[in-house]
Protein backbone atom coordinates (compact mmCIF):
# COMPACT_ATOMS: atom_id res chain seq x y z
CA UNK A 1 0.00 0.00 0.00
CA UNK A 2 2.71 2.45 0.99
CA UNK A 3 4.49 1.62 -2.25
CA UNK A 4 1.29 2.42 -4.15
CA UNK A 5 1.18 5.86 -2.49
CA UNK A 6 4.87 6.30 -3.16
CA UNK A 7 4.48 5.72 -6.91
CA UNK A 8 1.55 8.14 -7.04
CA UNK A 9 3.60 10.78 -5.24
CA UNK A 10 6.52 10.12 -7.57
CA UNK A 11 4.26 10.53 -10.60
CA UNK A 12 2.75 13.78 -9.30
CA UNK A 13 6.22 15.09 -8.58
CA UNK A 14 7.38 14.22 -12.10
CA UNK A 15 4.36 16.03 -13.54
CA UNK A 16 4.99 19.04 -11.28
CA UNK A 17 8.64 19.25 -12.33
CA UNK A 18 8.07 18.24 -15.94
CA UNK A 19 10.89 15.77 -15.48
CA UNK A 20 11.62 12.31 -16.89
CA UNK A 21 9.85 9.16 -15.68
CA UNK A 22 13.19 7.68 -14.68
CA UNK A 23 12.18 7.72 -10.99
CA UNK A 24 9.16 5.50 -11.74
CA UNK A 25 11.34 3.13 -13.75
CA UNK A 26 13.62 3.05 -10.69
CA UNK A 27 10.61 1.99 -8.60
CA UNK A 28 10.39 -1.00 -10.99
CA UNK A 29 7.37 0.15 -12.98
CA UNK A 30 7.14 -0.86 -16.62
CA UNK A 31 6.09 1.70 -19.22
CA UNK A 32 2.64 0.14 -19.53
CA UNK A 33 2.27 0.37 -15.75
CA UNK A 34 3.32 4.02 -15.93
CA UNK A 35 0.74 4.61 -18.68
CA UNK A 36 -1.94 2.95 -16.50
CA UNK A 37 -0.83 4.98 -13.48
CA UNK A 38 -1.19 8.23 -15.44
CA UNK A 39 -4.64 7.17 -16.63
CA UNK A 40 -5.79 6.23 -13.10
CA UNK A 41 -4.63 9.57 -11.73
CA UNK A 42 -6.51 11.43 -14.44
CA UNK A 43 -9.64 9.44 -13.53
CA UNK A 44 -9.23 9.97 -9.77
CA UNK A 45 -8.72 13.70 -10.23
CA UNK A 46 -5.07 14.13 -9.25
CA UNK A 47 -4.17 15.07 -12.81
CA UNK A 48 -6.05 16.74 -15.61
CA UNK A 49 -5.51 16.57 -19.36
CA UNK A 50 -5.70 19.75 -21.39
CA UNK A 51 -5.41 18.61 -25.00
CA UNK A 52 -2.22 16.57 -24.82
CA UNK A 53 -0.87 18.46 -21.80
CA UNK A 54 -1.04 16.87 -18.36
CA UNK A 55 -1.05 19.08 -15.23
CA UNK A 56 -1.71 18.72 -11.51
CA UNK A 57 -5.18 19.52 -10.18
CA UNK A 58 -5.60 21.27 -6.82
CA UNK A 59 -6.30 17.87 -5.27
CA UNK A 60 -3.19 16.45 -6.84
CA UNK A 61 -1.04 19.34 -5.66
CA UNK A 62 -2.22 19.08 -2.04
CA UNK A 63 -1.83 15.28 -2.07
CA UNK A 64 1.71 15.78 -3.32
CA UNK A 65 2.51 18.36 -0.63
CA UNK A 66 1.20 16.11 2.15
CA UNK A 67 3.25 13.15 0.97
CA UNK A 68 6.27 14.75 -0.61
CA UNK A 69 8.55 13.29 2.08
CA UNK A 70 7.85 9.76 0.78
CA UNK A 71 10.01 10.21 -2.27
CA UNK A 72 13.67 10.97 -2.33
CA UNK A 73 14.57 14.54 -3.12
CA UNK A 74 16.51 14.57 -6.35
CA UNK A 75 16.96 18.31 -6.55
CA UNK A 76 20.38 18.80 -4.89
CA UNK A 77 19.73 22.41 -3.89
CA UNK A 78 16.94 21.11 -1.67
CA UNK A 79 18.91 18.57 0.33
CA UNK A 80 22.38 20.15 0.49
CA UNK A 81 22.14 23.18 2.77
CA UNK A 82 24.76 25.97 2.83
CA UNK A 83 26.94 25.93 5.97
CA UNK A 84 26.28 29.54 7.06
CA UNK A 85 27.85 29.32 10.56
CA UNK A 86 31.33 28.68 9.18
CA UNK A 87 31.09 31.32 6.51
CA UNK A 88 33.73 34.06 6.86
CA UNK A 89 33.82 37.53 5.44
CA UNK A 90 35.53 37.88 2.13
CA UNK A 91 38.76 39.91 2.41
CA UNK A 92 40.37 42.08 -0.24
CA UNK A 93 42.99 40.68 -2.58
CA UNK A 94 45.91 42.55 -0.98
CA UNK A 95 44.90 42.10 2.63
CA UNK A 96 47.14 40.00 4.82
CA UNK A 97 45.34 37.73 7.18
CA UNK A 98 46.93 37.14 10.55
CA UNK A 99 44.81 35.01 12.83
CA UNK A 100 45.12 35.44 16.56
CA UNK A 101 47.38 32.93 18.21
CA UNK A 102 44.47 31.67 20.30
CA UNK A 103 42.50 30.62 17.28
CA UNK A 104 45.24 28.49 15.78
CA UNK A 105 44.48 25.13 17.28
CA UNK A 106 47.62 23.42 15.95
CA UNK A 107 49.79 25.71 18.10
CA UNK A 108 48.03 24.60 21.21
CA UNK A 109 49.81 22.04 23.24
CA UNK A 110 48.27 18.64 23.33
CA UNK A 111 46.88 17.75 26.72
Amino acid sequence: MSNQIKVIVALLKIVEEGSSVRMLKHLKLSYTEIADLIEQNIINGNLVEKDAEIVLTENGASFLNENRHLVKETDKSKWIEPDYKNKIKKIARDDVFLPSKKELSFLKKLP
Partner: protein, 289 residues
Protein backbone atom coordinates in the same frame (compact mmCIF):
# COMPACT_ATOMS: atom_id res chain seq x y z
CA UNK B 1 -6.82 15.81 -39.04
CA UNK B 2 -4.55 18.71 -39.87
CA UNK B 3 -1.86 19.55 -37.39
CA UNK B 4 -0.94 23.19 -37.18
CA UNK B 5 2.04 24.12 -35.08
CA UNK B 6 4.95 22.29 -33.53
CA UNK B 7 3.92 21.16 -30.08
CA UNK B 8 6.03 20.11 -27.10
CA UNK B 9 5.53 17.02 -25.01
CA UNK B 10 6.86 16.02 -21.64
CA UNK B 11 7.90 12.45 -20.98
CA UNK B 12 4.66 11.59 -19.15
CA UNK B 13 2.54 13.22 -21.84
CA UNK B 14 4.16 11.26 -24.65
CA UNK B 15 3.74 7.96 -22.75
CA UNK B 16 0.09 8.77 -22.14
CA UNK B 17 -0.45 9.73 -25.79
CA UNK B 18 1.37 6.64 -27.05
CA UNK B 19 -0.69 4.32 -24.83
CA UNK B 20 -3.85 5.89 -26.27
CA UNK B 21 -2.64 5.28 -29.82
CA UNK B 22 -1.76 1.66 -28.98
CA UNK B 23 -5.21 1.11 -27.49
CA UNK B 24 -7.06 2.81 -30.35
CA UNK B 25 -5.16 0.88 -33.01
CA UNK B 26 -5.34 -2.35 -30.95
CA UNK B 27 -1.54 -2.59 -31.11
CA UNK B 28 -1.31 -4.10 -27.63
CA UNK B 29 -2.94 -7.19 -29.17
CA UNK B 30 -0.02 -7.53 -31.58
CA UNK B 31 2.58 -6.40 -29.04
CA UNK B 32 1.50 -8.92 -26.40
CA UNK B 33 4.64 -8.67 -24.26
CA UNK B 34 4.74 -4.85 -24.54
CA UNK B 35 8.18 -5.05 -26.13
CA UNK B 36 7.41 -2.56 -28.90
CA UNK B 37 5.69 -0.19 -26.48
CA UNK B 38 8.69 -0.27 -24.11
CA UNK B 39 11.16 0.31 -26.94
CA UNK B 40 9.01 3.19 -28.18
CA UNK B 41 8.94 4.78 -24.69
CA UNK B 42 12.70 4.42 -24.24
CA UNK B 43 13.14 6.29 -27.51
CA UNK B 44 10.64 9.03 -26.58
CA UNK B 45 12.42 9.43 -23.25
CA UNK B 46 15.68 10.58 -24.86
CA UNK B 47 14.10 12.90 -27.43
CA UNK B 48 13.51 16.62 -26.98
CA UNK B 49 9.94 17.81 -26.18
CA UNK B 50 9.26 19.00 -29.77
CA UNK B 51 10.71 15.82 -31.24
CA UNK B 52 8.47 13.70 -29.01
CA UNK B 53 5.39 15.58 -30.13
CA UNK B 54 6.32 15.04 -33.79
CA UNK B 55 6.86 11.30 -33.30
CA UNK B 56 3.52 11.02 -31.50
CA UNK B 57 1.77 12.93 -34.31
CA UNK B 58 3.29 10.62 -36.94
CA UNK B 59 2.53 7.51 -34.93
CA UNK B 60 -1.15 8.45 -34.74
CA UNK B 61 -1.25 8.09 -38.54
CA UNK B 62 0.94 4.98 -38.67
CA UNK B 63 -0.11 1.63 -40.18
CA UNK B 64 1.09 -1.58 -38.62
CA UNK B 65 0.04 -4.56 -40.71
CA UNK B 66 1.29 -7.93 -39.51
CA UNK B 67 1.69 -11.19 -41.37
CA UNK B 68 -1.54 -12.35 -39.72
CA UNK B 69 -3.45 -9.72 -41.70
CA UNK B 70 -1.98 -10.55 -45.11
CA UNK B 71 -4.40 -13.27 -46.18
CA UNK B 72 -7.50 -11.35 -45.10
CA UNK B 73 -6.21 -8.11 -46.64
CA UNK B 74 -5.19 -9.58 -50.00
CA UNK B 75 -8.56 -11.39 -50.19
CA UNK B 76 -10.27 -8.05 -49.67
CA UNK B 77 -8.20 -6.44 -52.43
CA UNK B 78 -9.04 -9.25 -54.89
CA UNK B 79 -12.73 -8.89 -53.96
CA UNK B 80 -12.59 -5.17 -54.72
CA UNK B 81 -11.72 -5.86 -58.37
CA UNK B 82 -14.91 -5.40 -60.44
CA UNK B 83 -16.44 -8.73 -61.47
CA UNK B 84 -16.48 -7.67 -65.15
CA UNK B 85 -12.68 -7.83 -65.13
CA UNK B 86 -12.86 -11.62 -64.79
CA UNK B 87 -15.46 -12.19 -67.53
CA UNK B 88 -14.16 -14.58 -70.16
CA UNK B 89 -10.92 -15.09 -68.22
CA UNK B 90 -9.58 -18.66 -68.08
CA UNK B 91 -6.17 -18.21 -66.49
CA UNK B 92 -4.76 -15.86 -63.93
CA UNK B 93 -1.00 -15.44 -64.13
CA UNK B 94 0.54 -14.40 -60.84
CA UNK B 95 3.91 -12.70 -60.67
CA UNK B 96 5.54 -11.00 -57.67
CA UNK B 97 6.69 -7.44 -58.18
CA UNK B 98 10.48 -7.71 -58.00
CA UNK B 99 13.46 -5.88 -59.41
CA UNK B 100 15.31 -7.76 -62.15
CA UNK B 101 18.32 -7.82 -59.80
CA UNK B 102 16.17 -9.63 -57.21
CA UNK B 103 14.98 -12.26 -59.74
CA UNK B 104 14.85 -15.72 -58.12
CA UNK B 105 15.16 -14.19 -54.64
CA UNK B 106 12.23 -14.69 -52.29
CA UNK B 107 10.47 -11.38 -51.72
CA UNK B 108 7.20 -10.53 -50.00
CA UNK B 109 5.30 -10.75 -53.29
CA UNK B 110 6.06 -14.47 -53.57
CA UNK B 111 4.11 -15.42 -50.46
CA UNK B 112 1.16 -13.38 -51.65
CA UNK B 113 1.06 -15.01 -55.12
CA UNK B 114 0.86 -18.35 -53.33
CA UNK B 115 -1.90 -17.07 -51.02
CA UNK B 116 -3.94 -15.85 -53.99
CA UNK B 117 -3.46 -19.12 -55.84
CA UNK B 118 -4.59 -21.07 -52.77
CA UNK B 119 -7.70 -18.98 -52.14
CA UNK B 120 -8.99 -19.00 -55.73
CA UNK B 121 -10.67 -22.44 -55.78
CA UNK B 122 -12.63 -21.41 -52.67
CA UNK B 123 -13.67 -18.03 -53.96
CA UNK B 124 -17.15 -17.70 -55.48
CA UNK B 125 -16.03 -15.54 -58.39
CA UNK B 126 -12.65 -17.11 -59.16
CA UNK B 127 -13.15 -20.84 -58.69
CA UNK B 128 -13.51 -21.42 -62.46
CA UNK B 129 -10.30 -19.59 -63.21
CA UNK B 130 -7.00 -21.45 -63.36
CA UNK B 131 -4.16 -19.87 -61.34
CA UNK B 132 -0.59 -20.08 -62.49
CA UNK B 133 2.40 -18.68 -60.61
CA UNK B 134 5.22 -17.32 -62.74
CA UNK B 135 8.43 -17.94 -60.83
CA UNK B 136 10.96 -15.82 -62.68
CA UNK B 137 11.39 -13.29 -65.48
CA UNK B 138 12.70 -15.91 -67.91
CA UNK B 139 9.22 -17.46 -68.07
CA UNK B 140 8.03 -14.35 -69.91
CA UNK B 141 9.08 -15.32 -73.38
CA UNK B 142 7.34 -16.08 -76.61
CA UNK B 143 3.88 -14.66 -76.90
CA UNK B 144 2.22 -11.82 -74.99
CA UNK B 145 2.48 -11.53 -71.22
CA UNK B 146 -1.25 -12.18 -71.06
CA UNK B 147 -3.34 -13.65 -73.88
CA UNK B 148 -6.91 -12.60 -74.60
CA UNK B 149 -8.37 -14.97 -71.99
CA UNK B 150 -5.65 -14.39 -69.42
CA UNK B 151 -5.12 -11.82 -66.70
CA UNK B 152 -1.67 -10.90 -65.44
CA UNK B 153 -1.61 -10.06 -61.71
CA UNK B 154 1.51 -8.35 -60.41
CA UNK B 155 1.53 -8.74 -56.67
CA UNK B 156 3.30 -7.15 -53.68
CA UNK B 157 2.52 -6.16 -50.11
CA UNK B 158 3.68 -2.54 -50.52
CA UNK B 159 4.30 -0.16 -53.39
CA UNK B 160 6.29 2.87 -52.34
CA UNK B 161 7.77 5.25 -54.88
CA UNK B 162 6.86 2.79 -57.63
CA UNK B 163 10.52 2.35 -58.51
CA UNK B 164 10.51 -1.45 -58.10
CA UNK B 165 7.27 -1.76 -60.07
CA UNK B 166 8.70 0.40 -62.83
CA UNK B 167 11.84 -1.75 -63.11
CA UNK B 168 9.73 -4.91 -63.04
CA UNK B 169 7.43 -3.69 -65.84
CA UNK B 170 10.41 -2.57 -67.96
CA UNK B 171 12.07 -5.97 -67.56
CA UNK B 172 8.90 -7.79 -68.67
CA UNK B 173 8.43 -5.34 -71.54
CA UNK B 174 11.98 -6.09 -72.64
CA UNK B 175 10.91 -9.70 -73.12
CA UNK B 176 7.33 -9.50 -74.30
CA UNK B 177 4.36 -7.17 -74.76
CA UNK B 178 2.30 -6.21 -71.73
CA UNK B 179 -1.40 -5.73 -72.38
CA UNK B 180 -2.27 -3.23 -69.67
CA UNK B 181 -6.02 -3.77 -70.11
CA UNK B 182 -5.37 -7.36 -68.99
CA UNK B 183 -2.88 -6.49 -66.26
CA UNK B 184 -3.71 -5.72 -62.64
CA UNK B 185 -1.40 -4.46 -59.91
CA UNK B 186 -2.54 -6.05 -56.66
CA UNK B 187 -1.07 -4.86 -53.36
CA UNK B 188 -2.01 -4.53 -49.71
CA UNK B 189 -0.79 -0.95 -49.51
CA UNK B 190 0.44 1.75 -51.84
CA UNK B 191 1.61 5.29 -51.40
CA UNK B 192 -1.22 7.59 -52.43
CA UNK B 193 1.01 9.69 -54.68
CA UNK B 194 2.21 6.63 -56.57
CA UNK B 195 -1.34 5.25 -56.76
CA UNK B 196 -2.58 8.48 -58.34
CA UNK B 197 0.32 8.53 -60.78
CA UNK B 198 -0.25 4.93 -61.91
CA UNK B 199 -4.01 5.44 -62.19
CA UNK B 200 -3.46 8.53 -64.32
CA UNK B 201 -1.34 6.41 -66.66
CA UNK B 202 -4.29 4.04 -67.04
CA UNK B 203 -2.70 1.23 -65.01
CA UNK B 204 -5.20 -0.86 -63.06
CA UNK B 205 -4.08 -0.86 -59.45
CA UNK B 206 -5.91 -2.18 -56.41
CA UNK B 207 -4.81 -1.65 -52.80
CA UNK B 208 -6.43 -1.85 -49.40
CA UNK B 209 -4.47 0.99 -47.80
CA UNK B 210 -3.42 4.17 -49.55
CA UNK B 211 -0.60 5.75 -47.58
CA UNK B 212 -0.33 9.52 -47.34
CA UNK B 213 2.90 11.42 -46.70
CA UNK B 214 3.34 11.69 -42.94
CA UNK B 215 4.25 15.37 -42.76
CA UNK B 216 3.31 16.95 -46.12
CA UNK B 217 -0.23 15.52 -46.34
CA UNK B 218 -1.17 16.16 -42.71
CA UNK B 219 0.11 19.74 -42.29
CA UNK B 220 -0.26 23.06 -44.03
CA UNK B 221 1.91 26.06 -44.93
CA UNK B 222 5.24 26.72 -43.27
CA UNK B 223 4.59 24.01 -40.65
CA UNK B 224 5.45 21.41 -43.28
CA UNK B 225 9.02 22.68 -43.65
CA UNK B 226 9.40 23.27 -39.91
CA UNK B 227 8.43 19.68 -39.14
CA UNK B 228 10.61 18.30 -41.93
CA UNK B 229 13.54 20.26 -40.48
CA UNK B 230 12.75 18.91 -37.03
CA UNK B 231 12.75 15.37 -38.45
CA UNK B 232 16.08 16.04 -40.14
CA UNK B 233 17.44 17.11 -36.74
CA UNK B 234 16.31 13.78 -35.28
CA UNK B 235 17.90 11.98 -38.23
CA UNK B 236 21.25 13.62 -37.48
CA UNK B 237 21.56 11.17 -34.61
CA UNK B 238 20.54 8.16 -36.71
CA UNK B 239 23.71 6.71 -38.25
CA UNK B 240 23.23 5.64 -41.87
CA UNK B 241 19.99 7.53 -42.38
CA UNK B 242 21.51 10.22 -44.57
CA UNK B 243 20.46 8.82 -47.94
CA UNK B 244 17.08 7.81 -46.53
CA UNK B 245 16.15 11.13 -44.96
CA UNK B 246 12.34 11.31 -44.55
CA UNK B 247 12.30 7.81 -46.03
CA UNK B 248 13.59 6.58 -49.40
CA UNK B 249 13.11 9.39 -51.96
CA UNK B 250 11.52 11.48 -49.17
CA UNK B 251 8.47 9.21 -49.30
CA UNK B 252 7.46 10.16 -45.73
CA UNK B 253 5.75 6.77 -45.43
CA UNK B 254 4.25 5.61 -42.14
CA UNK B 255 3.87 1.89 -42.48
CA UNK B 256 5.21 -1.38 -41.13
CA UNK B 257 4.19 -4.61 -42.82
CA UNK B 258 5.96 -7.95 -42.32
CA UNK B 259 9.00 -5.71 -42.75
CA UNK B 260 9.19 -1.96 -42.60
CA UNK B 261 9.84 -0.52 -46.06
CA UNK B 262 12.71 1.97 -46.29
CA UNK B 263 10.14 4.52 -47.50
CA UNK B 264 9.10 4.85 -43.86
CA UNK B 265 10.81 7.58 -41.80
CA UNK B 266 14.09 6.02 -40.54
CA UNK B 267 13.38 6.94 -36.91
CA UNK B 268 10.79 4.13 -36.85
CA UNK B 269 13.15 1.40 -38.01
CA UNK B 270 16.80 2.53 -37.58
CA UNK B 271 18.77 2.93 -34.36
CA UNK B 272 19.09 6.38 -32.84
CA UNK B 273 22.34 7.34 -31.16
CA UNK B 274 22.33 9.94 -28.41
CA UNK B 275 25.22 10.70 -26.08
CA UNK B 276 27.14 7.65 -27.21
CA UNK B 277 24.30 5.23 -26.56
CA UNK B 278 22.17 3.41 -29.14
CA UNK B 279 18.41 3.22 -28.81
CA UNK B 280 16.41 0.68 -30.76
CA UNK B 281 13.59 1.87 -32.98
CA UNK B 282 10.13 0.40 -32.39
CA UNK B 283 10.05 -1.41 -35.74
CA UNK B 284 13.63 -2.65 -36.02
CA UNK B 285 14.40 -4.48 -39.26
CA UNK B 286 16.36 -7.68 -39.28
CA UNK B 287 19.94 -7.31 -40.43
CA UNK B 288 20.51 -7.43 -44.17
CA UNK B 289 22.83 -10.21 -45.24
Amino acid sequence: MLHQKIAKMKDTESINALAKIFKKKKWFNIDDDDHIFDTFCDLLNILEPEERALIIELTSNYYWITGDDYLKDIKEVIKSVPQTTFEGIKDILLFPIVKPTDDKKTKSGHGLTYDIKAMMPMSSNLRHVFPKIIEEFSEFGSGPASKANQLLLLVDDFIGSGDTLDQCLKEIEGRTKIYYERTLIICISCQLETYNLLTSKGINIYAKYLIERGITDFNVGSTIDEKKDLMRTIEKSIPGSNSLSLGFMESEALITLKRTPDNTFPVFWMRTRREGKYYNPPFLREKQS
